[in-house]
Amino acid sequence: MAIGLEHFLILSAILFSIGLYGALAKRNAVVILMSIEIMLNAVNIAMVAFWHYSAPMLMTGQIFVIFIMVVAAAEAAVGLALIIAIYRSRDTVDAEKFNLMKW
């Protein structure tokens, strides 16, 4: 059975669902951030699969992946800095105890 576009898209969907579950269910803020990175990687796999199978002559799919990587790196840096700043003031990274901005 040849490997087609659907195989990569289903792999991407499985990976995104795992990341979605982790981001919603976990309490440790670092693990939530890790789950978000898994979701971004799932999207990247779908982008590259579409480039390879649907538009191999246009490079737009790969360029989108590069920009997603840039934004993911910026997000990881700022997110982890926020987590460390909150840990300094509240001594926890439990997302259910972050109720500073709750109304």
């Binding site: 898209l9 499985i14 440790n28 649907s54 490079m59 700022v78 800095a81």
Partner: protein, 163 residues
């Protein structure tokens, strides 16, 4: 044939590593599984003949983001408490499974437009030309990405700096 074996092995390792990230209670081990997951995603890019992206994935995700996350785990010292699931565990499982079922249904039932030609040549110069070619290029987005990274670096320094 080799491509198929590579795809199935990589897919199994990716899904297993991602599940380990979400289910593992020791968060340091979860971070190591996350690095394994990023590395095998680079393998998937090689299977899809996106050579430049595979290199960028190893450099940015495995190198930079992996080290950043491990540093954050070390600095917050929550390893002994682990990463328990919150109150939303069952709803989250339900949402994840519903999303997965919807996506698989849509993917299987859509008639995708697939081109026969298989790209095999190196993609680096093609990416550079598409990125920087005058009218249809992405020069403005590229400059904005640079400004975004600078803002992120300064923001991270300001947030973490001791008062």
């Amino acid at each position: 044939m080799a491509i198929q074996v590579a795809f199935w092995v990589l897919a199994a390792v990716i899904v297993g590593a991602a599940l380990a990230v979400v289910l593992q209670r020791n968060i340091f081990r979860a971070a190591l599984f996350l690095v394994l997951c990023f590395f095998t995603v680079a393998g998937i890019y090689v299977v899809l003949s996106a050579d430049f992206l595979a290199g960028a994935q190893v450099l940015i995700y495995v190198g930079a983001i992996g080290v950043l996350i491990i540093f954050a785990i070390m600095l917050t010292r929550e390893t002994q408490r682990g990463s328990p699931s919150g109150r939303l565990r069952l709803p989250a499982l339900l949402v994840g499974l519903l999303f997965l079922a919807t996506m698989v249904f849509v993917i299987v039932s859509t008639d995708w437009h697939v081109v026969a030609e298989i790209p095999t040549e190196p993609t680096t110069s093609a990416i550079a030309q598409a990125l920087f070619s005058g009218e249809e290029g992405f020069v403005l987005a590229f400059e904005i990405a640079a400004a975004l990274l600078l803002a992120a670096i300064i923001g991270a320094i300001v947030l973490v700096r001791e008062k």
